[in-house]
Amino acid sequence: MAEKRRNTLNIALIGNPNAGKSSLFNALTGLNQQIGNFPGITVDKKIGYFKLPDNSEARVLDLPGTYSLFPKSIDEEVAVKVLCNSNHEDFPDVTIVVADATNLKRSLFLCTQVIDLKIPVVLVLNMVDLAQKNRIEINTNKLSELLGVPVVGMNAREGKGVDELKHALQQKINASSQNIVEIDKLEERVIKDISNALQANCVFASFIVANNLHNITNYIHNVEKREEIKKILEINNASAQKLQALESIERYRQLTTIIAQTVRRTQIVDSLTKKLDDVFTHRIWGYVIFLFILFSVFQAIFTFAEYPMQFIESSFANFSAWLGGILPKGVATDLLINGVLAGLSGIVVFVPQIALLFAFIAILEDTGYMSRVSFIMDKIMRRFGLNGRSVIPLISGVACAVPAIMGARTISNFKERLLTIFVTPLMSCSARLPVYTLLIALSVPSKLMWGFFNLQGLVLMGLYLIGFFAALGSAFIFKFFLKTKEASYFIMEMPVYRQPRWKNVGLTIVEKVKVFLFESGKIILAVSVILWFLASFAPGNKFQELEANYKEQIIAAQDQNNTIAVNELGKELSSKKLEYSYAGIMGKALEPAIKPLGFDWKIGISLVTSFAAREVFVGTMATIYSVGADEENTQSIREKMSAAKNPDTGEQSYTLAVAVALMLFYAFSMQCMSTIAVVYRETKSWKIPLLQFLYMGSLAYFASYVAYNWLK
């Protein structure tokens, strides 16, 4: 993270959600954006850079959207932490408050709180065009005079007013001399004592800090100080919440006077929005349209993404083949090709799905439609502890959990977001499909049920349904266990509908792809190198022994020009190598644990290797059963597997019971390092991914155990 630089104007950007804060951030900084972390919390820290008209540098910190300095979530807390502490590393020289001109009173609530902190403020009145269209006239000069801060009218979507803002920022901006709410006059004794105790130079800042004493994280690290303030409140029989209510009512009272002097409005709510809402929240059309949108999202990431994904995979494969041709054979080349390049390919391959999903999400958020989804889905999803917005991540999870989990960011309530992230990997993703297809073909006869349902198709559908119900059921159970300090409200603005801003959509995609590639990517790369090592090395010189054993036979076959035999021997050698590799040793070590599920060590190896991605199961099976893995010839894998015999009993290895147990295992278990990496990145801790891994693993084990013993 770039440090604050001298000679750089440090700006904080704050505003209500939907006020157009991100449009302004994008208009100011374009692609000069970085994403970092606020230490210890899951909130992304967005910083951008731009040049002022005199060519000096400005650094903008984009604070999470909030309605007030009384935070209700960890995201909103960030603003208070930065703005109420002049020693904070991000404490700004000047704060831009973005206000929605069509919603001025509520926007000014936050704005005047920031003004009362005695921080230099520039007020940006965004969407002035829309306000004019709705016949709202704002006297900006009068407003500027009453608030004591510069006011700039803007239409951030079209970039109008951005230059004026830059010029305004270049002037020396002083903190306003006005106090909109004289907090010390409301509860004189308490506020005075608190402000003395905190030795703050701003009375209002000390009020905010005292008010957030019992909030989600601690503002005051000094325990004695905390106790002192608690005592002050107790002695005066005051409560932080009552003070806060008093402050809010007084502030709105002041704002009513300010608005009366500066705004003339003749029309109230956008009539187009009303008409659109009649359709989008209609009891039939609302759901039909939502289903259609879900279907489009699903189609895009399931079907359309397939082409660029194939292109990425084949490009990597071609490049690897070419490199393999020119580089000398050896461990380093093998590491580069089968470890690093394979890992990179496994990361980049997610980009099309992430880009497509976020294109949809950005459009749905930008237009205001997403809050209508919450509105019509809330009653259903609430039962499961989820949000209406959880529906899109959940359904996207059927294509791939990785973009889906990233998409859960649109859920502002932390508990609901966490639950969504927690259960999304249970949805049957497309990586499970090759595993299911192979195992169904192996164990389920292709016959018609009740005249027209194909039994194989029914089983496949059943597996998808199991994933879906497991996700909802788990959410239902975990909502009772998951405790957060955040209060859960539904109270939410339904913004007016707007055109999507394509630049914002594009920048959202770039941002999400960057975050995935550079943050989750490094974990995925590390794990793929480890997995490569496990499958390519054996203790001692076991591999040399194996190679020596086969060498003679292979040479003999070559002498006879028997290419088929050479191929067969090569495959057998690969199979033996895998068996004696570290991965093979792990698979064998797993055998006692998975025997109750009907799995042997060969399946054990596949469980280890398919941690890279579930579909690796098919390739590993191919290697173990000496079928050319590169051929991806499921027909021959199936034949080999179905012919496989249990060495102890002499019976068929892959009975119906084993196949069903195995499918259930793959349905439930967290066999995906990319998902784990993404959950880590989204929750910024190993706790949730670890818990998920254990929970899903236990669920998988239990389900497979029951199924195997019942069908055996």
Binding site: K72, Y287, M492
Partner: protein, 76 residues
């Protein structure tokens, strides 16, 4: 006539009188639902819950349970 916000009918208007849940009232206050403010019920979700009200020039949605903590005085 006083009644809970949750019992308002579509298109009815009322003024906010009081709150019965302090933490919840803080959130409503900052969203502009202050005592004396006029609210109008503009939409009810298909499942009957949540509801949406018009307040200080914009539309705010909330659950019925949340609305039941707000007492309103009906206008005409």
């Amino acid at each position: 006539m006083l009644k809970p916000l949750s019992e308002m009918k579509l298109s009815e208007s009322a003024t906010i009188e009081s709150f019965s849940d302090l933490p919840l009232s803080l959130k409503l206050l900052e969203m502009g639902c202050t005592p004396g403010e006029v609210v109008k019920l503009v939409r009810i979700a298909p499942a009957g819950d949540p509801i949406a009200i018009e307040v200080s020039g914009y539309v705010l949605s909330l659950r019925k349970q949340e609305a039941s903590t707000v007492k309103v005085k009906m206008l005409k």
